[in-house]
Symmetry: C2
Subunit: 789 residues, 2 copies
């Protein structure tokens, strides 16, 4: 059969054939045995018969061949091809014995098992983080006499003396002032509590930053920009390692509890990805293949959001829309499974104590009216403006940190910001509470029994509400909280502690939304006869829900900052559970994205990727310029010609003295007709190995890439045959190919490099870095800001 | 600037430069003016200055160039590049004048406007279909005296004499027996009603099939296989045209009302796609670009499911998972918008009269227990087995229809099946009601007031229920209905009337699920002390919900037939609105997919695509064989060499006498060094045009593809320069490229053909059809079953 003769020496046969080929090269006698056994060496090992039984095809032939160095880009095509070869091998074997069949079945299900484990582990960790953060946040205020390990709510739950109205006051829970001075009221007690609050904030943030600095520098930040880069095919060793996991989990609890204006949602995505990466080591399939591992990481990103918000579908869409690069349908289904497992694990742990899956459970009873779309769109405009402003300010601040001496004192920076946050936030009850408590309260609809300030309406009649003094105080406090949150978040995001952006952004939006909502409510109350309210909002009717405005505002601000769209709406929809409010949410998110895009198309994560110079080829944006491949390729017009290897005639010494990371192999330097492509790393490893194992390989030995060894002079040293490490199917484009098409090819196939030809002759090479540099140049940015290969 | 010099004569410059180039070719004097004006003709028209102002760049230069013939595959890369050129043109222009800026803005928003229109139109049509089908289904039973246009439910709503218990009995609604004979009871009346039922069924189905035959043959079937093929880049003219839309809408109502075992969900996707295709003609951007239009069609598929089930998120995921081929993130967001608009349009029409968005609104009150996963998985196995069996049986039947004389009598076939269906379904109340009513009833939880047979429990104590005689009758009827539905659906799906598969599949699953659910319920009732029920199901407690089993069974069967996964779970989740039941649904769907996949990996739509021989390259499945490009390419080993054009030296006559659909252009036939690729269609159109407009072009004229005209003998006729219709960046792979990688390239980039080279020399060509033929051959199928190009 034609299809069965996949040749031994083809380049991409790294997994199976490489071993055989290297053996052919280094041990000619053994290769002779194979040839006799199989008729021809070209079919050897490719159809699962013969030599493949002698060696384990899943083992790398030489340590290092086919792997990548740190800070390098993977070749998706090669990785996926490797996995298909592995899969074909297992399938072919499975027809031969029952053990192999069982192996094949276990291989097929290992993906699901891995997903189950990722879900369980991430769910459990998220539950632990929630519980610890809840307790430690409460410790800043006081201690439970019944046992120091109870948090405020739990402490008072167990108390019999608590009434429903004052659930959170009980004698067992004592503030620090009571514990130290014995007094619970008065200015002195207030000052003691204030100081203790600042003390704990400093303590927690100090611990967090010190742990990050000492054990896992990669544990800082939200992690999403780096995960996006890793998923696009970049290698950052240790970024998803066990130390990062341990330290990020601990410091995340500390950072959240310290009261800094940050959330745990982004870091939870990082934590879930760490879990996935560590668990990948249990399965050969995923340990050895960078592309397969990235599929698992994409699913883990979904798991992270799923546990952060209790929104599994939203999590999957978040991974698809925002984080992932390569997201085949199989991954979609597995992500969904893992996200559900994680959500249910979290629910069994029940960290919020209300048996609800979602972080902010709300139920509104009043439908919205079409007229309300106007304030919703206003909120969208606010969200978009804030998002654009935040990105610009935050990036400017982070650039300052990178370029000035500010960056040399991360511990002091964290301590100063923590002290400032604690100092300013304690007097205002809305900034004193944690971000998620604040959002929860703002989202809430006022019921009659509600004791919160926000529901301080004067009860004029049974149903009609007019703002009372409590509400006015609350509004003032909220306005101050808004300004404070907007300022402090800019300098907090990007510090050397784990810091998520979701909760602070949502808090800003929720405050703005609630303010507008209360405003609308009062407007409707006093103007119920005006044209716009007539017909749907009669006097005294409860027709406007300020909580809904808060929710819409939160979505708008988060959308402005991250530029998420569908996933954001779905997350919000899962929070409320009603299709009713999708339209307001969508109107606000859409407006917010459009407004923010008008000031710059990058979301905060892309902006941070660019700030850090990661080699990330944005899959969402079109390449807008009209360059051709010949404009981007190297060598440039004035440069010396492209360094190539010829398929015969070069010596080991000549090959070793080169210094590029990969070389096209040509028939002859005159014809420049392309034969293949070889990586320097593979070349050096093979030469090194040959020198050790094969007799007579010296610097003067000829390196041969042809199928048959050419005739050599009788006194020449034996040649070194390296055809098997050559990529025989390098990607080529012609010099006239428009760059938009070239960029599309790079993105869709996940290429690392591509050769440029003109009328069949080799002209040059384009790497991913060349493209990124060209794009930077086109956008009038410094092309040398792209740091890595 | 390097990037600005995109050369005039490059091949993909179809939108702008083609006109100029053709002008250069045909009117040398005019081209001279351009060159003087712009310095060099190579920059002309590409940077938006100069000649682009003279002509409308959005107009095709020659009618036909850059378009496709019917039953051909589009070149995604070329189409997308065309659109990027267009976009770049508009962006460049927008900097010059306010009008152009407005044009640019309106162009950017035209996509959203189109989505809005698609949503509105599809929602309105779906509402109309729902209302008409409801009324016509009721007409089979009787008429409303108050006015013949009222359906049964509406008729009795208006009546004051109806009690809540007997909502559907009122004197205004008269059965045919009452109308004709005046009697409403007795065997005679029964027979009259029976006959009238059969009469109407025959009448409706006859009308449906006649209309389809006479006006729009494409209106038959579900349409999803064809839409999948169209979305993958195939052209079927008229398949989404206005006649198809009109006839499909009318005949869908007729077919559904005739009582045949079919649903309206698949055809609704087709209807939505027709709406989208027709509305595309309003916008140049979408009218002229096949790739952009397919983005809109992907969104329309989401709209179809959104209106069918009232599940916008599920619809988007359905489009993503099941139907679409190229689904960029921008389309995701727009699909979601359109799906929401359509869902809300439908809700304002309120066809179900309950102000609910979803088709089967259910609310269960009892949580499920872990033990119940066992029966849920059983349902999954049943669903998988039934799915596999159904696909095999239906394909066998359809093949029979294709190959024997059965296919020559579609009208008689439809009439026979309709008569059979009516005859057998009338006596059984569960088959007499429409598919969606049946599913609705099966999903429903029994409340105390429920009068349906399915809730015929004997009330022993206040809460405990044991099966009464009503329930036993219902169970028997359901079992018979199950067998009947399973049989009749096999022969119904694929007839020449619009027929969806969702409702019949779900009905089969729901019946099986309900039967199992009632069985479990009785088991728990009589064995509440057994080990498996102890602890969670005490005596008399209402711990098992048969409606939930029906829902799980419906999902399992639909999953087995279509192999949908995430989208199915999300649709079901949107139907119930509770995250609670996702786990049972997922367990069943997963089992069902695995079981069904064991018997064959194709879903029903893929099976029909293969049956019909559409050129569809399945994006989900990996290419499993170890062939190389050289094994697949043409010419094969024994064939004559590849037909090529040389870049100079060939005459018009020689070029015209060729008969392949495209040709590589090479430097010379000796060197076989590739220059570009040219399509025969474009060649012929250009030559034809040149003969008409350009003096001296005769059959002996030389065709020149080079940049500069080579020196010609003085007496030679003027040459015909055709470089501008040549694709200067054809895709190439080397002969050693494994086919799995080649297939990946074809899929991801949407190629139509790819050239094969060896050491820089052209060897052969691989087209999409070659790949499909090779895959058919590998799977031991007839490679000639792939019909089209």
């Amino acid at each position: 059969m034609l299809s069965d003769r996949r040749k031994c020496w083809r380049d991409r046969c790294l997994s199976v054939a490489m071993l055989l080929c290297l053996k052919c090269t280094f041990c000619p006698s053994l290769s002779g045995v194979y040839e006799e056994h199989n008729g021809t060496s070209r079919t050897a090992g490719m159809n699962g018969s013969g030599p493949s039984r002698l060696v384990d095809p899943l083992e790398d032939p030489l340590p290092g061949v086919g792997t990548y160095e740190d800070f390098n880009t993977i070749d998706w095509v090669r990785e996926k091809s490797k996995d298909r070869d592995r899969h074909r091998e297992i399938t072919n074997k499975s027809r031969q014995s029952t053990v192999a069949l069982l192996h094949s079945i276990s291989d097929a299900f290992s993906g699901w098992l891995l997903m189950l484990l990722v879900g369980l582990m991430s769910g459990a960790l998220a539950g632990g983080i929630d519980i610890s953060a809840h307790w430690m946040t409460d410790v800043k205020g006081g201690l439970c006499l019944r046992g120091f390990w109870f948090n405020h709510e739990h402490c008072c739950w167990l108390s019999n003396e608590t009434t429903f109205q004052e659930r959170d006051r009980c004698p067992q829970w004592q503030s620090w002032a009571e514990l130290i001075t014995g007094k619970s009221e008065g200015p002195f007690a207030y000052i003691v509590n204030y100081l203790m609050y600042i003390f704990w904030a400093l303590m927690f943030s100090f611990l967090a930053v010190i742990l990050v600095r000492a054990f896992a520098p990669y544990a800082c930040g939200s992690g999403i920009p780096e995960i996006k880069t890793i998923l696009s095919g970049f290698i950052i060793r240790g970024y998803l390692g066990k130390w990062t996991l341990i330290i990020k989990t601990i410091t995340l609890v500390l950072a959240v509890s310290s009261g800094l204006s940050l959330g745990k949602e982004g870091p939870l995505v990082h934590v879930a990805c760490c879990c996935a990466n560590i668990l990948c080591h249990l399965f050969t399939k995923y340990r050895k293949n960078e592309a397969k591992r990235r599929e698992v990481l994409s699913a883990a990103a979904a798991v992270g959001v799923s546990v952060a918000f209790g929104a599994p579908i939203g999590g999957v869409l978040f991974s698809l829309e925002e984080v992932s690069y390569y997201f085949p349908l199989k991954t979609l289904w597995r992500s969904f499974f893992a996200a559900l497992v994680a959500a249910f694990t979290l629910r069994s742990i029940n960290p919020f104590g209300n048996s609800r899956l979602v972080l902010f459970y709300v139920e509104f009873h009043t439908p919205w009216h079409l007229v309300e779309l106007a304030p919703f769109i206003l909120l969208g405009i606010f969200g978009g403006l804030w998002g654009a402003l935040f990105i610009k300010a935050n990036i400017a601040w982070c650039r300052l940190r990178k370029t000035t001496c500010l960056g040399h004192y991360p511990v002091i920076e964290v301590l100063v910001v923590a002290a400032l946050t604690a100092l300013l936030s304690y007097p205002n009850s809305y900034t004193r509470m944690s971000g998620s408590e604040l959002i929860s309260e703002l989202f809430n609809d006022c019921s009659l029994l509600d004791s919160s300030q926000l529901c301080g309406y004067k009860q004029v009649t049974n149903t009609s509400d007019t703002a009372g003094p409590g509400l006015y105080t609350a509004l003032w406090q909220l306005a101050l909280a808004l300004v404070f949150k907007m300022m402090i978040t800019v300098i907090t995001f990007g510090m050397k502690v784990p810091s998520g952006l979701f909760i602070p952004s949502m808090a800003v939006g929720a405050i703005a939304g609630r303010l507008l909502g209360v405003g609308m409510e009062q407007l409707a109350y006093y103007n119920h006869d005006a044209v716009i309210f007539k017909g749907w909002c009669s006097q005294g009717a409860d027709c406007i829900t300020p909580g809904l405005y808060a929710m819409v505002g939160a979505a708008a601000c988060l959308g402005g900052v991250t530029r998420m769209t569908v996933s954001l709406v779905v997350i919000m929809f899962e929070l409320t559970g009603g299709l009713e409010y999708i339209v307001p949410l969508m109107a606000a998110t859409m407006t917010s994205k459009w407004v923010a895009d008008a000031f710059g198309r990058e979301g905060i994560y892309e902006a941070h990727i660019r700030l850090n110079g990661y080699p990330f080829l944005e899959p969402k944006e079109e390449f807008e310029h009209s360059s051709l491949a010949v404009d981007v390729m190297r060598p440039r017009r004035m440069d010396p010609t492209l360094a190539v290897l010829t398929q015969e005639g070069m010596t080991v010494g000549e090959v070793e003295s080169t210094h590029f990371s990969g070389f096209p192999v040509v028939v002859s330097s005159e014809s420049q007709r392309l034969v293949g492509f070889v990586l320097r790393r593979d070349l050096l490893i093979s030469i090194d190995n040959a020198r050790k194992r094969q007799d007579g390989i010296v610097s003067a030995s000829q390196v041969v890439f042809t199928e048959h060894t050419p005739p050599l002079p009788p006194d020449a040293p034996p040649p070194l045959r390296l055809r098997c490490i050559m990529d025989l199917s390098p990607f080529t484009v012609t010099d006239h190919t428009p760059m938009d098409i070239t960029v599309d090819i790079f993105r869709k196939l996940g290429l690392r490099q591509c050769l440029v030809t003109h009328n069949g002759r080799l002209l040059g090479i384009i790497t991913k870095k060349d493209i990124l540099k060209h794009m930077a140049q086109m956008a009038n940015r410094d092309p040398d800001s792209i740091l890595f290969n």
